[in-house]
Amino acid sequence: MSATGSTLVRPRLLGRATVNAVVAISVLYTLLPVLWLVLAAAKNRDALFGSALLSLTDFSFGQNLSDLFAMDGGLYGRWYVNSLLYAVLGAAVGALVSVACGYAFDKYRFRHKEKLFGLVLAAVMVPQTVLALPLYLMASEAGLVNTFWAVFVPVLFNPFGVYLGRVFSRGYVPDEVLEAARIDGAGELTLYARVALRMLGPGLVTVFLFQLTAIWNNFFLPMVMLSDQDLYPVSLGLYAWNSSASVSPEYYPVVVMGSLLAVVPLILAFVLLQRFWRSGLTAGAVK
Protein backbone atom coordinates (compact mmCIF):
# COMPACT_ATOMS: atom_id res chain seq x y z
CA MET A 1 0.00 0.00 0.00
CA SER A 2 2.63 2.44 1.08
CA ALA A 3 4.89 1.30 -1.74
CA THR A 4 2.30 2.06 -4.42
CA GLY A 5 1.56 5.33 -2.66
CA SER A 6 5.15 6.53 -2.87
CA THR A 7 5.56 5.52 -6.52
CA LEU A 8 2.44 7.48 -7.30
CA VAL A 9 3.53 10.52 -5.35
CA ARG A 10 7.04 10.70 -6.72
CA PRO A 11 6.16 11.11 -10.42
CA ARG A 12 3.52 13.64 -9.46
CA LEU A 13 6.07 15.67 -7.49
CA LEU A 14 8.46 15.37 -10.41
CA GLY A 15 5.67 16.50 -12.73
CA ARG A 16 4.92 19.52 -10.57
CA ALA A 17 8.59 20.47 -10.53
CA THR A 18 8.83 20.13 -14.32
CA VAL A 19 5.70 22.17 -14.88
CA ASN A 20 6.92 24.93 -12.60
CA ALA A 21 10.36 24.87 -14.18
CA VAL A 22 8.95 25.19 -17.70
CA VAL A 23 6.74 28.11 -16.68
CA ALA A 24 9.58 29.79 -14.76
CA ILE A 25 11.96 29.54 -17.73
CA SER A 26 9.29 30.96 -20.03
CA VAL A 27 8.70 33.87 -17.68
CA LEU A 28 12.44 34.53 -17.53
CA TYR A 29 12.52 34.46 -21.32
CA THR A 30 9.82 37.13 -21.54
CA LEU A 31 10.99 39.26 -18.63
CA LEU A 32 14.78 39.34 -18.98
CA PRO A 33 14.92 41.37 -22.22
CA VAL A 34 12.68 44.00 -20.63
CA LEU A 35 14.89 43.98 -17.55
CA TRP A 36 17.89 44.43 -19.84
CA LEU A 37 16.20 47.48 -21.34
CA VAL A 38 15.63 48.99 -17.88
CA LEU A 39 19.22 48.35 -16.82
CA ALA A 40 20.69 49.51 -20.10
CA ALA A 41 18.69 52.73 -19.97
CA ALA A 42 20.38 53.56 -16.69
CA LYS A 43 23.91 53.17 -18.06
CA ASN A 44 26.17 55.57 -19.88
CA ARG A 45 27.56 54.69 -23.27
CA ASP A 46 30.80 53.12 -22.04
CA ALA A 47 28.98 50.79 -19.68
CA LEU A 48 26.48 49.92 -22.39
CA PHE A 49 29.29 48.76 -24.64
CA GLY A 50 31.13 47.07 -21.80
CA SER A 51 28.11 44.84 -21.17
CA ALA A 52 28.73 45.66 -17.49
CA LEU A 53 25.10 46.11 -16.72
CA LEU A 54 24.95 44.93 -13.18
CA SER A 55 27.66 47.17 -11.80
CA LEU A 56 26.27 50.07 -9.84
CA THR A 57 28.83 52.55 -11.10
CA ASP A 58 28.27 54.46 -14.32
CA PHE A 59 24.70 55.05 -13.25
CA SER A 60 23.34 57.80 -15.45
CA PHE A 61 19.60 57.39 -15.70
CA GLY A 62 18.92 61.09 -15.18
CA GLN A 63 21.66 62.09 -17.58
CA ASN A 64 20.30 59.79 -20.29
CA LEU A 65 16.82 61.12 -19.71
CA SER A 66 17.83 64.73 -20.15
CA ASP A 67 20.02 63.77 -23.14
CA LEU A 68 17.02 62.09 -24.70
CA PHE A 69 14.83 65.15 -24.50
CA ALA A 70 17.63 67.47 -25.55
CA MET A 71 18.72 65.41 -28.57
CA ASP A 72 18.05 67.07 -31.95
CA GLY A 73 16.22 69.98 -30.36
CA GLY A 74 13.78 67.99 -28.27
CA LEU A 75 12.48 65.91 -31.15
CA TYR A 76 11.64 62.96 -28.91
CA GLY A 77 9.08 64.93 -26.92
CA ARG A 78 7.35 65.85 -30.14
CA TRP A 79 7.31 62.22 -31.31
CA TYR A 80 5.84 61.18 -27.99
CA VAL A 81 3.03 63.71 -28.22
CA ASN A 82 2.40 62.67 -31.82
CA SER A 83 2.21 59.00 -30.86
CA LEU A 84 -0.20 59.79 -28.04
CA LEU A 85 -2.38 61.81 -30.41
CA TYR A 86 -2.39 59.15 -33.14
CA ALA A 87 -2.96 56.31 -30.70
CA VAL A 88 -5.32 57.65 -28.02
CA LEU A 89 -7.47 59.75 -30.32
CA GLY A 90 -7.38 57.17 -33.10
CA ALA A 91 -8.23 54.26 -30.80
CA ALA A 92 -11.07 56.19 -29.14
CA VAL A 93 -12.70 57.22 -32.42
CA GLY A 94 -11.96 53.88 -34.06
CA ALA A 95 -13.42 51.86 -31.19
CA LEU A 96 -16.63 53.93 -31.18
CA VAL A 97 -17.02 53.53 -34.95
CA SER A 98 -16.34 49.78 -34.93
CA VAL A 99 -18.48 48.93 -31.93
CA ALA A 100 -21.43 50.96 -33.26
CA CYS A 101 -21.20 49.00 -36.50
CA GLY A 102 -20.86 45.66 -34.69
CA TYR A 103 -23.90 46.50 -32.57
CA ALA A 104 -25.94 47.29 -35.69
CA PHE A 105 -24.86 43.96 -37.21
CA ASP A 106 -26.09 42.15 -34.12
CA LYS A 107 -29.36 43.94 -33.39
CA TYR A 108 -30.83 44.82 -36.77
CA ARG A 109 -32.01 42.72 -39.65
CA PHE A 110 -31.48 43.87 -43.21
CA ARG A 111 -30.83 42.40 -46.59
CA HIS A 112 -27.37 40.98 -47.44
CA LYS A 113 -26.33 41.34 -43.80
CA GLU A 114 -24.17 38.24 -43.68
CA LYS A 115 -22.56 39.08 -47.02
CA LEU A 116 -21.60 42.51 -45.72
CA PHE A 117 -20.28 40.94 -42.54
CA GLY A 118 -18.24 38.55 -44.66
CA LEU A 119 -16.71 41.56 -46.39
CA VAL A 120 -15.76 42.98 -42.98
CA LEU A 121 -14.14 39.69 -41.98
CA ALA A 122 -12.31 39.49 -45.29
CA ALA A 123 -10.87 42.94 -44.62
CA VAL A 124 -9.21 41.54 -41.47
CA MET A 125 -6.85 39.42 -43.50
CA VAL A 126 -5.68 41.98 -46.04
CA PRO A 127 -2.06 42.89 -45.33
CA GLN A 128 -1.28 46.51 -44.45
CA THR A 129 1.58 46.48 -46.90
CA VAL A 130 -0.82 45.80 -49.76
CA LEU A 131 -2.84 48.93 -48.98
CA ALA A 132 0.13 51.21 -48.40
CA LEU A 133 1.01 52.17 -51.96
CA PRO A 134 -2.59 52.92 -53.08
CA LEU A 135 -3.20 54.83 -49.84
CA TYR A 136 -0.05 56.83 -50.48
CA LEU A 137 -1.17 57.64 -54.02
CA MET A 138 -4.65 58.62 -52.82
CA ALA A 139 -3.22 60.80 -50.07
CA SER A 140 -0.85 62.49 -52.49
CA GLU A 141 -3.78 63.13 -54.85
CA ALA A 142 -5.65 64.77 -51.97
CA GLY A 143 -2.55 66.71 -50.90
CA LEU A 144 -2.47 64.90 -47.56
CA VAL A 145 0.89 63.16 -47.82
CA ASN A 146 3.16 64.21 -45.00
CA THR A 147 0.31 65.46 -42.82
CA PHE A 148 -1.24 64.24 -39.57
CA TRP A 149 -4.33 63.00 -41.43
CA ALA A 150 -2.42 60.66 -43.73
CA VAL A 151 -1.53 58.53 -40.71
CA PHE A 152 -4.56 59.24 -38.55
CA VAL A 153 -7.42 58.32 -40.91
CA PRO A 154 -6.31 54.85 -42.14
CA VAL A 155 -5.65 53.60 -38.60
CA LEU A 156 -9.28 54.27 -37.61
CA PHE A 157 -10.29 51.32 -39.77
CA ASN A 158 -10.54 48.26 -37.56
CA PRO A 159 -12.65 45.43 -39.02
CA PHE A 160 -11.74 43.08 -36.21
CA GLY A 161 -13.30 45.63 -33.83
CA VAL A 162 -16.57 45.23 -35.71
CA TYR A 163 -16.40 41.48 -35.24
CA LEU A 164 -15.71 41.95 -31.51
CA GLY A 165 -18.46 44.58 -31.30
CA ARG A 166 -20.95 42.07 -32.68
CA VAL A 167 -19.83 39.36 -30.28
CA PHE A 168 -19.97 41.72 -27.29
CA SER A 169 -23.33 43.09 -28.32
CA ARG A 170 -24.77 39.59 -28.45
CA GLY A 171 -23.26 38.79 -25.06
CA TYR A 172 -23.85 41.98 -23.11
CA VAL A 173 -26.95 43.67 -24.53
CA PRO A 174 -30.11 41.59 -23.98
CA ASP A 175 -32.84 42.12 -26.58
CA GLU A 176 -35.47 42.30 -23.82
CA VAL A 177 -33.88 45.43 -22.39
CA LEU A 178 -33.99 47.08 -25.82
CA GLU A 179 -37.63 46.03 -26.31
CA ALA A 180 -38.55 47.46 -22.91
CA ALA A 181 -36.87 50.75 -23.72
CA ARG A 182 -38.65 50.83 -27.10
CA ILE A 183 -42.01 50.38 -25.41
CA ASP A 184 -41.08 53.30 -23.15
CA GLY A 185 -40.79 55.28 -26.34
CA ALA A 186 -37.03 55.59 -26.82
CA GLY A 187 -35.85 56.28 -30.37
CA GLU A 188 -33.38 53.83 -31.88
CA LEU A 189 -30.31 56.07 -31.65
CA THR A 190 -31.13 57.22 -28.12
CA LEU A 191 -31.48 53.56 -27.29
CA TYR A 192 -27.95 52.93 -28.50
CA ALA A 193 -26.41 55.96 -26.83
CA ARG A 194 -28.22 55.72 -23.49
CA VAL A 195 -28.79 52.01 -22.97
CA ALA A 196 -26.62 49.80 -25.16
CA LEU A 197 -23.39 51.76 -25.10
CA ARG A 198 -23.25 51.57 -21.31
CA MET A 199 -23.63 47.79 -21.38
CA LEU A 200 -21.01 47.56 -24.11
CA GLY A 201 -18.47 49.36 -21.88
CA PRO A 202 -16.05 46.47 -21.28
CA GLY A 203 -16.20 45.51 -24.94
CA LEU A 204 -15.54 49.07 -25.99
CA VAL A 205 -12.50 49.23 -23.70
CA THR A 206 -11.21 45.96 -25.15
CA VAL A 207 -11.50 47.21 -28.73
CA PHE A 208 -9.93 50.51 -27.64
CA LEU A 209 -6.96 48.68 -26.13
CA PHE A 210 -6.49 46.45 -29.16
CA GLN A 211 -6.46 49.46 -31.40
CA LEU A 212 -4.31 51.55 -29.07
CA THR A 213 -1.69 48.80 -29.18
CA ALA A 214 -1.94 48.49 -32.94
CA ILE A 215 -1.59 52.23 -33.57
CA TRP A 216 1.20 52.66 -31.03
CA ASN A 217 2.97 49.79 -32.84
CA ASN A 218 2.27 51.23 -36.27
CA PHE A 219 5.43 51.62 -38.24
CA PHE A 220 4.82 50.85 -41.88
CA LEU A 221 2.17 53.48 -42.60
CA PRO A 222 4.03 56.44 -41.01
CA MET A 223 7.16 55.31 -42.82
CA VAL A 224 5.34 55.49 -46.14
CA MET A 225 3.38 58.68 -45.48
CA LEU A 226 5.69 60.94 -43.52
CA SER A 227 8.93 62.63 -44.40
CA ASP A 228 8.70 65.51 -41.93
CA GLN A 229 10.43 64.36 -38.74
CA ASP A 230 8.18 66.65 -36.69
CA LEU A 231 5.20 64.43 -37.54
CA TYR A 232 6.86 61.09 -36.75
CA PRO A 233 5.47 58.77 -34.11
CA VAL A 234 7.93 57.34 -31.57
CA SER A 235 8.30 54.03 -33.46
CA LEU A 236 9.48 55.67 -36.68
CA GLY A 237 11.60 58.22 -34.82
CA LEU A 238 13.50 55.54 -32.92
CA TYR A 239 14.00 53.64 -36.18
CA ALA A 240 15.54 56.76 -37.72
CA TRP A 241 17.77 57.39 -34.71
CA ASN A 242 18.87 53.79 -34.63
CA SER A 243 19.99 54.01 -38.23
CA SER A 244 22.01 57.12 -37.34
CA ALA A 245 23.54 55.27 -34.40
CA SER A 246 25.70 53.09 -36.59
CA VAL A 247 27.47 56.25 -37.74
CA SER A 248 27.28 58.34 -34.57
CA PRO A 249 27.21 56.12 -31.49
CA GLU A 250 26.02 58.93 -29.19
CA TYR A 251 22.55 57.94 -30.35
CA TYR A 252 22.69 54.50 -28.70
CA PRO A 253 21.92 55.58 -25.11
CA VAL A 254 19.05 57.82 -26.22
CA VAL A 255 17.57 55.07 -28.40
CA VAL A 256 17.64 52.71 -25.43
CA MET A 257 16.13 55.31 -23.09
CA GLY A 258 13.59 56.31 -25.73
CA SER A 259 12.57 52.66 -26.16
CA LEU A 260 12.03 52.30 -22.43
CA LEU A 261 9.79 55.36 -22.27
CA ALA A 262 7.85 54.18 -25.32
CA VAL A 263 6.86 51.01 -23.49
CA VAL A 264 5.34 52.88 -20.54
CA PRO A 265 1.98 54.08 -21.97
CA LEU A 266 0.83 50.64 -23.09
CA ILE A 267 1.81 49.04 -19.79
CA LEU A 268 -0.09 51.80 -17.97
CA ALA A 269 -3.12 51.30 -20.21
CA PHE A 270 -3.12 47.54 -19.70
CA VAL A 271 -2.74 47.83 -15.92
CA LEU A 272 -5.31 50.60 -15.47
CA LEU A 273 -7.89 49.00 -17.73
CA GLN A 274 -7.18 45.47 -16.60
CA ARG A 275 -10.64 44.87 -15.15
CA PHE A 276 -12.26 45.60 -18.50
CA TRP A 277 -10.05 43.90 -21.03
CA ARG A 278 -9.77 40.67 -19.07
CA SER A 279 -13.52 40.17 -19.24
CA GLY A 280 -13.56 41.50 -22.79
CA LEU A 281 -10.84 39.15 -23.98
CA THR A 282 -12.64 36.17 -22.49
CA ALA A 283 -15.85 37.09 -24.28
CA GLY A 284 -14.00 37.48 -27.55
CA ALA A 285 -12.04 34.26 -27.28
CA VAL A 286 -14.76 31.92 -26.11
CA LYS A 287 -17.43 32.97 -28.55
Binding site: A100, Y108, F110, V162, G187, F219, Y252, I267, A285
Partner: protein, 324 residues
Protein backbone atom coordinates in the same frame (compact mmCIF):
# COMPACT_ATOMS: atom_id res chain seq x y z
CA UNK B 1 -41.06 63.29 -31.74
CA UNK B 2 -43.71 61.40 -33.68
CA UNK B 3 -41.93 58.22 -32.80
CA UNK B 4 -42.70 58.64 -29.13
CA UNK B 5 -46.38 59.34 -29.59
CA UNK B 6 -46.91 56.41 -31.91
CA UNK B 7 -45.34 53.98 -29.49
CA UNK B 8 -47.23 55.25 -26.48
CA UNK B 9 -50.50 55.18 -28.32
CA UNK B 10 -50.00 51.67 -29.57
CA UNK B 11 -48.80 50.03 -26.42
CA UNK B 12 -51.79 50.30 -24.04
CA UNK B 13 -54.11 48.52 -26.44
CA UNK B 14 -52.09 45.77 -28.05
CA UNK B 15 -54.85 43.18 -27.90
CA UNK B 16 -57.59 45.05 -29.68
CA UNK B 17 -55.83 44.82 -33.02
CA UNK B 18 -52.41 43.79 -34.21
CA UNK B 19 -50.30 46.88 -35.00
CA UNK B 20 -51.31 48.05 -38.40
CA UNK B 21 -49.12 47.17 -41.31
CA UNK B 22 -48.30 50.83 -41.72
CA UNK B 23 -47.08 51.24 -38.15
CA UNK B 24 -44.95 48.17 -38.54
CA UNK B 25 -43.50 49.49 -41.74
CA UNK B 26 -42.56 52.83 -40.16
CA UNK B 27 -40.97 51.02 -37.21
CA UNK B 28 -39.00 48.87 -39.61
CA UNK B 29 -37.93 51.88 -41.63
CA UNK B 30 -36.85 53.66 -38.48
CA UNK B 31 -34.74 50.70 -37.45
CA UNK B 32 -33.16 50.48 -40.87
CA UNK B 33 -32.37 54.18 -40.61
CA UNK B 34 -30.74 53.69 -37.21
CA UNK B 35 -28.72 50.75 -38.52
CA UNK B 36 -27.62 52.92 -41.42
CA UNK B 37 -26.51 55.74 -39.15
CA UNK B 38 -24.60 53.38 -36.85
CA UNK B 39 -22.88 51.60 -39.72
CA UNK B 40 -22.22 54.55 -42.00
CA UNK B 41 -18.94 55.78 -40.41
CA UNK B 42 -17.40 52.33 -40.54
CA UNK B 43 -18.47 51.64 -44.09
CA UNK B 44 -17.22 55.05 -45.16
CA UNK B 45 -13.82 54.05 -43.79
CA UNK B 46 -14.09 50.60 -45.34
CA UNK B 47 -14.66 52.18 -48.73
CA UNK B 48 -11.95 54.82 -48.57
CA UNK B 49 -9.11 52.99 -46.85
CA UNK B 50 -9.88 49.44 -47.96
CA UNK B 51 -12.05 48.93 -51.05
CA UNK B 52 -10.68 51.78 -53.14
CA UNK B 53 -7.04 50.98 -52.27
CA UNK B 54 -7.48 47.29 -53.10
CA UNK B 55 -9.13 48.30 -56.36
CA UNK B 56 -6.36 50.79 -57.07
CA UNK B 57 -3.70 48.16 -56.44
CA UNK B 58 -5.42 45.78 -58.85
CA UNK B 59 -5.78 48.56 -61.43
CA UNK B 60 -2.17 49.68 -61.13
CA UNK B 61 -0.92 46.15 -61.57
CA UNK B 62 -2.40 46.05 -65.10
CA UNK B 63 -1.16 49.48 -66.17
CA UNK B 64 2.23 51.05 -66.45
CA UNK B 65 3.67 54.51 -66.90
CA UNK B 66 5.56 54.12 -70.11
CA UNK B 67 8.14 56.66 -71.08
CA UNK B 68 8.00 57.38 -74.80
CA UNK B 69 11.19 56.66 -76.70
CA UNK B 70 14.32 58.57 -75.60
CA UNK B 71 12.50 59.90 -72.53
CA UNK B 72 11.04 62.92 -74.32
CA UNK B 73 7.37 63.85 -74.23
CA UNK B 74 4.79 63.25 -71.54
CA UNK B 75 4.42 59.97 -69.71
CA UNK B 76 1.46 57.86 -70.74
CA UNK B 77 -0.36 55.27 -68.74
CA UNK B 78 -0.83 52.20 -70.88
CA UNK B 79 -2.49 48.87 -70.37
CA UNK B 80 0.17 46.21 -70.07
CA UNK B 81 -1.95 43.21 -69.14
CA UNK B 82 -0.09 40.67 -67.11
CA UNK B 83 3.37 42.07 -67.87
CA UNK B 84 3.93 43.28 -64.31
CA UNK B 85 2.85 39.93 -62.93
CA UNK B 86 5.24 38.16 -65.27
CA UNK B 87 8.00 40.50 -64.11
CA UNK B 88 7.26 39.88 -60.43
CA UNK B 89 6.84 36.14 -60.71
CA UNK B 90 10.08 35.70 -62.63
CA UNK B 91 12.03 38.02 -60.34
CA UNK B 92 14.31 35.79 -58.27
CA UNK B 93 14.42 38.38 -55.45
CA UNK B 94 10.62 38.29 -55.10
CA UNK B 95 10.50 34.50 -55.23
CA UNK B 96 13.34 34.40 -52.73
CA UNK B 97 11.32 36.66 -50.44
CA UNK B 98 8.28 34.39 -50.77
CA UNK B 99 10.48 31.42 -49.93
CA UNK B 100 11.91 33.21 -46.90
CA UNK B 101 8.45 34.01 -45.57
CA UNK B 102 7.24 30.46 -46.24
CA UNK B 103 10.15 29.09 -44.23
CA UNK B 104 9.52 31.70 -41.54
CA UNK B 105 5.86 30.63 -41.29
CA UNK B 106 6.81 26.95 -41.15
CA UNK B 107 9.11 27.57 -38.19
CA UNK B 108 7.19 30.30 -36.43
CA UNK B 109 3.52 29.25 -36.53
CA UNK B 110 3.87 25.71 -35.09
CA UNK B 111 6.25 26.99 -32.39
CA UNK B 112 3.89 29.81 -31.50
CA UNK B 113 0.69 27.75 -31.37
CA UNK B 114 2.29 24.83 -29.54
CA UNK B 115 4.21 27.05 -27.12
CA UNK B 116 1.27 29.26 -26.21
CA UNK B 117 -1.05 26.26 -25.86
CA UNK B 118 1.46 24.39 -23.72
CA UNK B 119 1.88 27.35 -21.37
CA UNK B 120 -1.88 27.86 -21.14
CA UNK B 121 -2.42 24.17 -20.35
CA UNK B 122 0.30 24.26 -17.71
CA UNK B 123 -1.18 27.37 -16.10
CA UNK B 124 -4.64 25.80 -16.27
CA UNK B 125 -3.44 22.58 -14.60
CA UNK B 126 -3.50 24.28 -11.22
CA UNK B 127 -0.03 23.22 -10.07
CA UNK B 128 1.79 26.41 -11.06
CA UNK B 129 2.83 28.67 -8.25
CA UNK B 130 2.37 32.45 -8.50
CA UNK B 131 0.03 31.93 -11.41
CA UNK B 132 -1.11 35.51 -11.88
CA UNK B 133 2.47 36.77 -11.66
CA UNK B 134 3.52 34.22 -14.29
CA UNK B 135 0.68 35.32 -16.55
CA UNK B 136 1.55 38.97 -16.18
CA UNK B 137 5.21 38.30 -16.88
CA UNK B 138 4.41 36.29 -19.98
CA UNK B 139 2.00 38.95 -21.20
CA UNK B 140 4.39 41.88 -20.69
CA UNK B 141 6.06 41.75 -24.15
CA UNK B 142 2.66 42.42 -25.71
CA UNK B 143 2.95 45.95 -24.33
CA UNK B 144 6.31 46.39 -26.08
CA UNK B 145 5.83 47.82 -29.59
CA UNK B 146 7.14 45.60 -32.38
CA UNK B 147 9.86 47.98 -33.45
CA UNK B 148 11.13 48.24 -29.87
CA UNK B 149 11.04 44.48 -29.40
CA UNK B 150 13.18 44.31 -32.52
CA UNK B 151 15.50 47.01 -31.12
CA UNK B 152 15.91 45.20 -27.79
CA UNK B 153 16.73 41.93 -29.49
CA UNK B 154 18.97 43.61 -32.03
CA UNK B 155 21.05 44.89 -29.12
CA UNK B 156 20.90 41.47 -27.49
CA UNK B 157 22.24 39.99 -30.74
CA UNK B 158 25.00 42.58 -31.15
CA UNK B 159 28.45 41.55 -29.90
CA UNK B 160 29.90 44.17 -27.57
CA UNK B 161 26.54 45.30 -26.26
CA UNK B 162 24.81 42.01 -25.64
CA UNK B 163 25.26 40.18 -22.33
CA UNK B 164 24.03 37.05 -24.12
CA UNK B 165 26.78 37.04 -26.73
CA UNK B 166 29.16 37.92 -23.91
CA UNK B 167 28.06 34.90 -21.87
CA UNK B 168 28.51 32.58 -24.83
CA UNK B 169 31.90 34.09 -25.52
CA UNK B 170 32.99 33.32 -21.97
CA UNK B 171 32.11 29.68 -22.63
CA UNK B 172 34.20 29.93 -25.83
CA UNK B 173 31.15 29.73 -28.04
CA UNK B 174 30.88 32.30 -30.79
CA UNK B 175 27.43 32.77 -32.18
CA UNK B 176 26.66 35.23 -34.89
CA UNK B 177 22.95 35.82 -34.40
CA UNK B 178 22.78 37.85 -37.58
CA UNK B 179 24.56 35.41 -39.89
CA UNK B 180 23.24 33.84 -43.07
CA UNK B 181 21.70 30.81 -41.40
CA UNK B 182 20.85 32.34 -38.04
CA UNK B 183 19.09 35.51 -39.05
CA UNK B 184 15.75 33.83 -39.77
CA UNK B 185 15.63 31.96 -36.44
CA UNK B 186 16.64 35.25 -34.81
CA UNK B 187 13.61 36.94 -36.37
CA UNK B 188 11.38 34.05 -35.34
CA UNK B 189 12.62 34.53 -31.80
CA UNK B 190 11.66 38.21 -31.80
CA UNK B 191 8.14 37.45 -33.04
CA UNK B 192 7.76 34.57 -30.62
CA UNK B 193 8.88 36.72 -27.72
CA UNK B 194 6.44 39.46 -28.65
CA UNK B 195 3.33 37.35 -29.10
CA UNK B 196 3.68 34.20 -27.00
CA UNK B 197 2.11 35.68 -23.88
CA UNK B 198 -0.78 37.28 -25.65
CA UNK B 199 -1.78 34.06 -27.38
CA UNK B 200 -1.29 32.19 -24.11
CA UNK B 201 -3.88 34.51 -22.51
CA UNK B 202 -6.31 33.81 -25.37
CA UNK B 203 -5.91 30.04 -24.89
CA UNK B 204 -6.10 30.37 -21.13
CA UNK B 205 -9.36 32.29 -21.36
CA UNK B 206 -10.79 29.56 -23.59
CA UNK B 207 -9.57 26.82 -21.22
CA UNK B 208 -11.22 28.58 -18.29
CA UNK B 209 -14.52 28.26 -20.10
CA UNK B 210 -14.23 24.45 -20.35
CA UNK B 211 -16.81 23.11 -17.89
CA UNK B 212 -15.15 21.63 -14.81
CA UNK B 213 -17.44 18.55 -14.99
CA UNK B 214 -15.81 17.55 -18.26
CA UNK B 215 -12.29 17.49 -16.85
CA UNK B 216 -13.50 15.90 -13.62
CA UNK B 217 -15.21 13.15 -15.59
CA UNK B 218 -11.96 12.51 -17.45
CA UNK B 219 -10.09 12.20 -14.15
CA UNK B 220 -12.72 9.80 -12.79
CA UNK B 221 -12.31 7.72 -15.95
CA UNK B 222 -8.67 7.37 -15.03
CA UNK B 223 -7.06 9.85 -17.41
CA UNK B 224 -3.84 11.37 -16.09
CA UNK B 225 -3.22 15.12 -16.18
CA UNK B 226 -1.29 14.90 -19.45
CA UNK B 227 -4.00 12.88 -21.20
CA UNK B 228 -6.70 15.18 -19.82
CA UNK B 229 -4.86 18.18 -21.17
CA UNK B 230 -4.13 16.78 -24.62
CA UNK B 231 -7.17 14.61 -25.35
CA UNK B 232 -9.93 16.35 -23.42
CA UNK B 233 -9.12 20.03 -23.02
CA UNK B 234 -7.24 20.70 -26.27
CA UNK B 235 -10.04 19.52 -28.60
CA UNK B 236 -12.48 21.71 -26.65
CA UNK B 237 -10.55 24.90 -27.39
CA UNK B 238 -10.13 24.12 -31.09
CA UNK B 239 -11.94 27.30 -32.11
CA UNK B 240 -9.34 29.40 -30.30
CA UNK B 241 -6.49 27.40 -31.81
CA UNK B 242 -7.81 28.05 -35.30
CA UNK B 243 -8.21 31.77 -34.52
CA UNK B 244 -4.70 32.10 -33.14
CA UNK B 245 -3.19 30.13 -36.04
CA UNK B 246 -5.07 32.27 -38.55
CA UNK B 247 -4.03 35.59 -37.06
CA UNK B 248 -0.46 34.43 -36.60
CA UNK B 249 -0.39 33.39 -40.26
CA UNK B 250 -1.83 36.69 -41.50
CA UNK B 251 0.71 38.68 -39.51
CA UNK B 252 3.58 36.40 -40.39
CA UNK B 253 2.95 36.84 -44.12
CA UNK B 254 3.34 40.62 -43.70
CA UNK B 255 6.82 40.23 -42.18
CA UNK B 256 8.36 43.69 -42.38
CA UNK B 257 9.22 45.52 -39.15
CA UNK B 258 11.77 43.11 -37.69
CA UNK B 259 13.85 42.47 -40.83
CA UNK B 260 13.65 46.16 -41.71
CA UNK B 261 15.23 47.09 -38.40
CA UNK B 262 17.75 44.25 -38.39
CA UNK B 263 18.80 45.20 -41.91
CA UNK B 264 20.34 48.34 -40.42
CA UNK B 265 22.91 46.12 -38.74
CA UNK B 266 23.05 42.96 -40.80
CA UNK B 267 24.28 42.81 -44.37
CA UNK B 268 22.55 39.44 -44.70
CA UNK B 269 19.14 41.15 -44.91
CA UNK B 270 18.76 42.92 -48.22
CA UNK B 271 16.07 45.43 -49.09
CA UNK B 272 13.90 42.72 -50.68
CA UNK B 273 14.16 40.17 -47.88
CA UNK B 274 10.39 39.61 -47.59
CA UNK B 275 7.49 40.31 -50.00
CA UNK B 276 6.44 43.33 -47.92
CA UNK B 277 9.95 44.72 -48.09
CA UNK B 278 9.94 44.01 -51.82
CA UNK B 279 6.74 46.04 -52.20
CA UNK B 280 8.19 48.91 -50.20
CA UNK B 281 11.40 48.82 -52.19
CA UNK B 282 9.60 48.67 -55.54
CA UNK B 283 7.15 51.45 -54.69
CA UNK B 284 9.26 53.93 -52.79
CA UNK B 285 12.86 53.28 -53.74
CA UNK B 286 12.50 52.26 -57.37
CA UNK B 287 9.20 54.16 -57.93
CA UNK B 288 7.92 51.27 -60.01
CA UNK B 289 4.27 51.41 -59.02
CA UNK B 290 2.97 48.72 -61.32
CA UNK B 291 5.61 46.26 -60.11
CA UNK B 292 4.79 47.08 -56.49
CA UNK B 293 1.07 46.76 -57.19
CA UNK B 294 1.50 43.38 -58.87
CA UNK B 295 3.61 42.14 -55.95
CA UNK B 296 0.90 43.44 -53.56
CA UNK B 297 -1.81 41.54 -55.39
CA UNK B 298 0.28 38.37 -55.37
CA UNK B 299 0.86 38.73 -51.61
CA UNK B 300 -2.84 39.39 -51.09
CA UNK B 301 -3.85 36.31 -53.08
CA UNK B 302 -1.36 34.16 -51.14
CA UNK B 303 -2.80 35.46 -47.86
CA UNK B 304 -6.40 34.85 -48.88
CA UNK B 305 -5.65 31.37 -50.24
CA UNK B 306 -3.71 30.29 -47.16
CA UNK B 307 -6.27 31.75 -44.74
CA UNK B 308 -9.05 30.03 -46.61
CA UNK B 309 -7.04 26.82 -46.52
CA UNK B 310 -6.56 27.03 -42.76
CA UNK B 311 -10.26 27.63 -42.06
CA UNK B 312 -11.37 24.96 -44.54
CA UNK B 313 -8.95 22.36 -43.28
CA UNK B 314 -9.97 22.87 -39.67
CA UNK B 315 -13.67 23.01 -40.36
CA UNK B 316 -13.48 19.77 -42.33
CA UNK B 317 -11.70 18.17 -39.38
CA UNK B 318 -14.39 19.35 -37.03
CA UNK B 319 -17.26 18.02 -39.13
CA UNK B 320 -15.49 14.69 -39.41
CA UNK B 321 -15.14 14.60 -35.65
CA UNK B 322 -18.76 15.49 -35.09
CA UNK B 323 -19.82 12.71 -37.43
CA UNK B 324 -17.88 10.21 -35.40
Amino acid sequence: MTATTEHTVRVPAPRTAAPSARARRTARRRRLGAAGVLMAPFFLLLTTVFLIPVGTAAYLSFYSDDQPGLGFGPERTVFVGLRSYAAVLTDPTFLGGLGTVALYCLIYIPLMVAGALLLALLLDSGVVRLRSFAQLGLFLPHAVPGIIAALIWLYLYTPGISPVVDLFARADITIDFLGVHTVLPSIVNIALWSNLGYNMVVFYAALQAVPREVTEAAVVDGAGPVRTALQVKTPLVRASIVMVALFTLIWALQLFTEPMLLSQSSPVINSRFSPSMYIYDAAFTRNNYSLAAAASVVLLLCTVALSYGVTRLTSRNSTAEEAR
